[in-house]
């Protein structure tokens, strides 16, 4: 009660002092009328308030110009502490010196004053009723607003964490046995992923991968989010948009290992340092094009040194078209064609070289019954690669041509289990006549979305004999687990 009352008094005093003399009369009449009303209702209370009001008035004039909050407090203290006769004396003094003459002026018609007050109160009541009506109307809308406030409070609470990027980690570990080389606990990778928006115009993601060879930045790339004309630009180190599975991290593949054909012809994952420009065609069906330029493509492609500066003709340039059609609600097909050109390929140590062209075609058929997509499904996919290159000047007439690829089918048996088969045809790039053919049945148990066991058997008929472990019979048991935020996005689907 008190703080509110004192606030009203203050505002009155301020007004009192700021109004030009001519308008003071009206104001005094109003305030006086109010007091009179209080008088009528309860004489003792109103006299008490009258006293304090006068004190407040005095204080108001003394402290005018100071911060409202401060002298409100002062006044409350005054109001609460001065209750004795001295106060009344002070009040009387104030009244005689400052107010009485003016108040008397305004006292010409008491009745008129009361009428004015009643009218005023009527108006206020009317306003209050209208306000209640309005609030009633806004009641339902109000709950929406409350929700919004709740949400913002929630996000504020999470703010220190929310500004951190999404963090996740994948562990991919194998136990394997190869008939040609023996058994091995293969700690394949522990990959830490980070991703967040940079600003309204870009986002950034990174995958830092620890393997048995050491720790390296697998990917770290910035991607624009708001370029016009359906364009997206990407820069840094990332998996170049070549083929379908070569640009998927190894632990996300439907089988244990990167197909040997991808390993030999591309160099494993299509890791590349460079830039890419994507364009989504405004067609009613999905059609997307990529143009890119890189130092080299292929994480395991050691023929080109990634670190040395080079002339522009020794970069690798890429073009890709990717399209997709729904045959029916449940059946779909996806096509891609990739074209990577290195105008002047100079394998480390060679004095000169010709061009290298690597082409790829990928086809993927998917059966995803909408009503039971969690429990059933079939994916049949394949990629075909052609490599054509000329190295050195000794043999100017001939280009080295090699052809290879893989195909696989994966059948989803229920929510947790799937099985499949991979056929792999991997030529040697150095001696194109030789090849390795692999057959790999596999079974996958998805314990949950983030926990997966996979058993794979591979029989490889190796005529290349570059590496002992490529041939013979092999058994793998792979355990992949994910914590935190982990997604390779649309391209990893």
């Amino acid at each position: 009660m008190f703080p509110r009352a004192s606030r009203n008094f203050i505002s009155l005093t301020i007004r009192f002092h700021s109004y030009p003399l001519g308008r003071i009369g009206g104001l005094v009449r109003k305030t006086f009328g109010l007091l009179l009303l209080l008088f009528l209702s309860k004489a003792s209370v109103s006299s008490y308030i009258l006293d304090n009001w006068l004190v407040a008035l005095l204080f108001g004039s003394l402290f005018a110009g100071r911060e409202t909050g401060v002298y409100e407090r002062e006044v409350i203290v005054m109001v609460l502490s001065l209750r004795g006769r001295r106060q009344i004396a002070v009040s009387a003094f104030v009244v005689t010196v400052f107010l009485i003459p003016r108040v008397c002026l305004a006292q010409t018609s008491e009745l008129e004053a009361i009428r004015g007050i009643v009218k005023n109160l009527e108006q206020q009541l009317q306003k209050a009723l209208e306000r209640i009506d309005q609030l009633e109307k806004e009641k339902s809308a109000g709950s929406v607003r409350v929700g919004e406030v709740e949400k913002s409070v929630q996000s504020l609470k999470a703010a220190p964490g929310a500004l951190n990027p999404g963090i996740g980690m994948v562990l991919d570990a194998n136990v394997e046995h190869k008939s040609k080389t023996g058994g091995n606990f293969n700690f394949r990778s522990a990959e830490i992923g980070l991703a967040a928006s940079v600003d309204p115009f870009a986002r950034l993601y990174g995958f830092i991968n620890g393997t048995r060879e050491g720790v390296e930045v697998d990917e770290a790339a910035a991607i624009t989010t708001s370029l016009p004309w359906n364009l997206t630009a990407k820069g840094g180190r990332f998996l170049a948009d070549f083929g379908r599975l070569p640009k998927i991290h190894e632990h996300e593949l439907p089988f244990v290992n990167e197909p040997l054909s991808v390993e030999r012809m591309i160099g494993g994952e299509t890791q590349a340092d460079g830039v890419e420009l994507n364009y989504l065609f405004p067609t009613p069906f999905f059609l997307r094009a990529t143009l890119g330029g890189y130092n080299k493509i292929g994480e395991g492609n050691e023929r080109i040194d990634n670190n040395k500066p080079r002339s522009w003709s020794r970069f690798t340039y890429l073009g890709r078209l990717n399209t997709y059609f729904d045959l029916t609600d449940n059946h779909s097909i996806e096509f891609g064609t990739s074209h990577a050109l290195t105008p002047s390929l100079r394998v480390s140590g060679d004095a000169g070289g010709g061009s290298r062209i690597l082409n790829g075609i990928d086809v993927t058929y998917r059966y995803q019954p909408l009503a039971s997509v969690v429990y059933q499904g079939l994916t049949v996919g394949g990629e075909f690669f052609r490599n054509s290159e000329r190295i050195g000047f000794d043999d100017t007439s001939k280009r080295r041509q090699s052809y290879g690829g893989y195909s696989y089918a994966e059948l989803k048996l229920n929510k947790n289990w799937s099985t499949g088969f991979l056929f792999d045809y991997a030529p040697s790039i150095e001696s194109p006549g030789k090849k390795t053919i692999g057959y790999s049945p596999f079974v996958t148990w998805n314990i949950s979305e983030f926990n997966r066991l996979r058993l794979q058997f591979t029989h490889a008929d190796d005529r290349v004999r570059e590496e002992k472990g490529d041939g013979g019979n092999q058994v793998f048991l792979q355990w992949t687990t994910v914590i935190g935020a982990h997604t390779h996005g649309f391209l990893g689907r």
């Binding site: 929406v144 997509v373 983030f450």
Partner: protein, 309 residues
Amino acid sequence: MKTKLLSGKNWKTILLTFTFLCLQTGLVFAQQIRVVASWPALADITKQIGKELVNAESLATGVEDPHGVPMKPSFVPRLNRADALVLIGLDDELSWLPALLEVASNPKILPGQPGYIDCSVGIPVAEPPVRLDRAEGDLHPKGNPHYLLDPVYTKIVAQNIAAGLSRNFPQHQAAFEKNLKAYVTELDSWIARWEKMTAPLKGVKFVEYHQEWVYFANRYGLKRVGAVELKPGIEPTPNHIVDLVQRIKQEKAQVLLYGAQNPRVPQQLANETGIKVLRLYSSSGGRPETDSYIKWIDYTVRTLVQAAS
């Protein structure tokens, strides 16, 4: 010998690509407002509010598992052309929508932009997570997102959609508000009817496959006995099923509700306990006769009342 990059064949390739790029831009006609909704129920409500001004389409058809919509590239061009995106939020669409938005090249409908209309704003969320850990399952990290099953909350959803549309197209605000008023009035009369119809559902004990009936149960007084899933998104283990059979018998649960999920476990439970199994989808469009939000809730209410009586 020097290989020239910009000579011969390469020139033609580059020129061709460039012409193609130029051809594709700038062919946009002012037509209806294109709204893409994640689920058919939201598309229906958007149509009720936008009427002839809006062309609203849903990405999911309604028969899908509530968290298992496939990430189809054919959604990408639709998202690319959308003026606004209407979604359930609360990470309901986490497994498919964000990745599609990454490639849709449409800055208008990215999270935080005016075209991103999150219908969960202002919904009093049920089952907020007490412990954020994937040991608790992975599908409801921000609380239960299946609020469309409470028709009273759907009034908030309609308001959110109207506000979202007005935010993007202030020139049509009056029309949206008028349509919103009409829709909420219609919904209110249905809500009153459902309130009466559901009187026999008070205290009915039910088992659900996936945790999605909490809003409906809270509104109409049903009592949840258990869920078939171990945790949201985690298939039951044999032990869990044994437990559930016991609980169904003990508590005398009357109905088991499932939607897009596999009927195998519900049938098994029905055989062992005699519980009545009902297939009720968690969105409109799951059945051909439930092609609008109101029809869907009405079907759900009628089926449940019939089963419980």
